[in-house]
């Protein structure tokens, strides 16, 4: 599978910077300046740097990855950490993403902490192993830098890669900013490895839009992260010579159903564990996370539901509209799997019209995947709010404040009707 390799933003400079800064200060980039609150470290990093820095501080036993735009920088930075002795990790430069996930499965099964990073077609090639990782109940953590899945070939951001694995049994966290990508990764292992969960977890962020944009970020000190993440002590693992074990059986009619049910239960359990871990994280950082973020939603008449970086742009638009006296609001989904159907339905129950923004089209002739989940969640919880599906930002198409504003304007009209017309819509598409 041939992949175009593009020059990555700043990668050489930033990579060098991270490396010698760390050589100098023996910790994360630009470690606490004098007189600065040592609790958190004011930095500016791209989303990929943030992810790589989180991985460095987590210091997993094994990382196996294959380069693909726009996540390529992550294994680049990480192998620099490895080759400069800044982590204990063994890095496996595999020959494909399929092998990347296979090696992570092997390492995690062996009793190690394994991590990887990928995008788009890389995840597509991994697909078989993505299901096997969750079926084997291995808490592997992946950094997924969202990009359009071919074809035709496009290296830019949308969510078609993530949506393609939404039923694979992985916990899926989405991140608006480099900061959230970093924070979500720091919380990942505590969630995934929890005895009630034992499921793999992926942290998503928008390719290029956040992965390659340098922005302000608050980092934690290495020691704090180490303490928070803790050590991994699996109950059963292949390398335990005192208890040899077998994994990955032929699992026939009498058993697979029950094993899948166990996975389903674990996914349900994950919801509370995610909230518990977030509570601890807030104690340490003051940054609070839930299953989703409500921005001026409480008293909103109209609301947008979306994920990742678009939420930031939407917040600006909400503020602008509020100044005009329009009661707009936002629900930003952070935890997409497990899907908080009931909680979202409740949070939206009072609004007069909702627009769900999907950065990938399900091509089912009826609307995007997030739209389908949100509306079915409302239906099963007896919440009836006119809701429209907007497909937007495909293949890196830039989404402007004006366009977000136009969605709210649509909703103002929709909110006056009792039934929504043409609920399957496109935002920012050229057509007569």
């Amino acid at each position: 599978m041939k992949r175009e390799q593009y020059t990555n933003s700043f990668s050489n400079i930033e990579r060098a910077k991270i490396v010698d800064k760390n050589e100098q200060k023996g910790c994360v980039p630009n470690c606490a300046k004098k007189g600065e609150d040592t609790m958190s470290i004011r930095e500016r990093l791209s989303g990929n740097e943030a992810a790589a820095t989180a991985m460095k501080q987590i210091n997993p036993d094994v990382v196996a990855a294959f380069p693909i735009t726009p996540s390529t920088e992550i294994p680049q930075y990480f192998s620099t950490f490895v080759d400069n002795g800044m982590v204990d990790t063994e890095f496996i430069a595999v020959e494909s993403e399929h092998s990347a996930m296979s090696a992570c499965i092997g390492a995690e099964a062996a009793g190690a902490r394994a991590m990887t990073a990928t995008s788009a077609n890389g995840l597509s090639l991994m697909w078989e192993m993505v299901y096997i990782a969750s079926g084997m109940r291995l808490p592997i953590v992946m950094s997924l830098v969202n990009r359009a899945v071919s074809g035709p070939l496009n290296i830019h951001n949308d969510h078609s890669d993530a949506m393609g694995v939404r039923d694979s049994g992985w916990i899926m966290l989405f991140s608006e900013t480099n900061q959230e990508a970093y924070d979500n990764l720091l919380m990942a292992h505590r969630i995934a490895e929890n005895e009630k969960v034992q499921l793999p977890l992926m942290v998503c962020q928008d390719g290029f839009i956040t992965s390659h944009s340098i922005e302000n970020i608050e980092l934690l000190e290495d020691e704090k992260v180490k303490e928070f993440v803790g050590e991994y002590h699996p109950k059963h693992y292949l390398l335990n010579a005192k208890e040899p074990m077998a994994m990955g059986p032929m699992d026939l009619q009498a058993f697979l159903f029950e094993h899948k049910y166990q996975q389903a239960e674990a996914m349900k359990n994950a919801k509370q564990v995610i909230l518990d871990v977030a509570k601890d994280f807030e104690k340490m950082t003051g940054r609070s996370y839930g299953l989703f973020e409500e921005y001026k939603l409480e008293d909103a008449d109209i609301a947008i539901v979306c994920m990742n970086s678009t939420a930031g742009t939407t917040k600006d638009v909400v503020d602008a509209l509020r100044e005009q006296g329009i009661k707009a609001g936002l629900l930003k989904v952070r935890v997409f799997r497990p899907f908080p159907a009931e909680e979202i339905a409740k949070a939206l129950s009072h609004v007069k019209a909702v627009a769900v923004l999907d950065k990938a089209d399900s091509l089912n002739g009826a609307g995007g995947a997030l739209f389908t989940d949100v509306t079915s969640g409302m239906q099963t919880n007896n919440v009836t709010v006119p809701t429209a599906s907007y497909i937007y930002g495909i293949g890196g198409r830039d989404t402007t404040s004006k366009e977000i504003e136009s969605v709210f304007k649509d909703l103002m009209k929709d909110s006056k009707k009792d039934k929504i017309e043409n609920p399957y819509r496109y935002l920012g598409l050229r057509k007569e």
Binding site: R137, M245, P249, H259, Y261
Partner: protein
């Protein structure tokens, strides 16, 4: 002893199909696959050992004294490889009901 079977409920099953008693397949008898069986004629056996490693089922018990004993019919599937490699006629194949 493996305590998982067709009646075990989901909460009692190991996750992911993991098994923590390596080698527990010994509990699964394959002897009933057999339609013909090898007969061990110890008088003819000179303990040359040719048959020891060829049995796919590991159904030829070999003691620390490096001597074999009669077949383990719990597992023998009756393939006949052992009889064929024995140059001394110490193993013959016969139908299940033959004495």
């Amino acid at each position: 002893m493996t305590n998982i079977d067709k009646n075990t409920t989901a909460d009692k099953m190991t996750i992911a199909g993991n098994i923590y008693e390596a080698g527990n397949a010994r509990e699964f008898k394959t002897g009933d696959w057999r339609s013909i069986r090898p007969k061990y004629i110890s008088e003819k056996c000179i303990q040359c050992g040719l048959c020891f490693p060829v049995c796919p089922e590991d159904a030829i018990p070999v003691g620390k004294d490096q001597k074999r004993t009669d077949f383990n019919y719990d597992y023998c599937k009756g393939c006949g490889v052992c009889a064929k490699v024995c140059p001394f006629g110490a193993i013959t194949m016969q139908t299940e009901d033959e004495e």
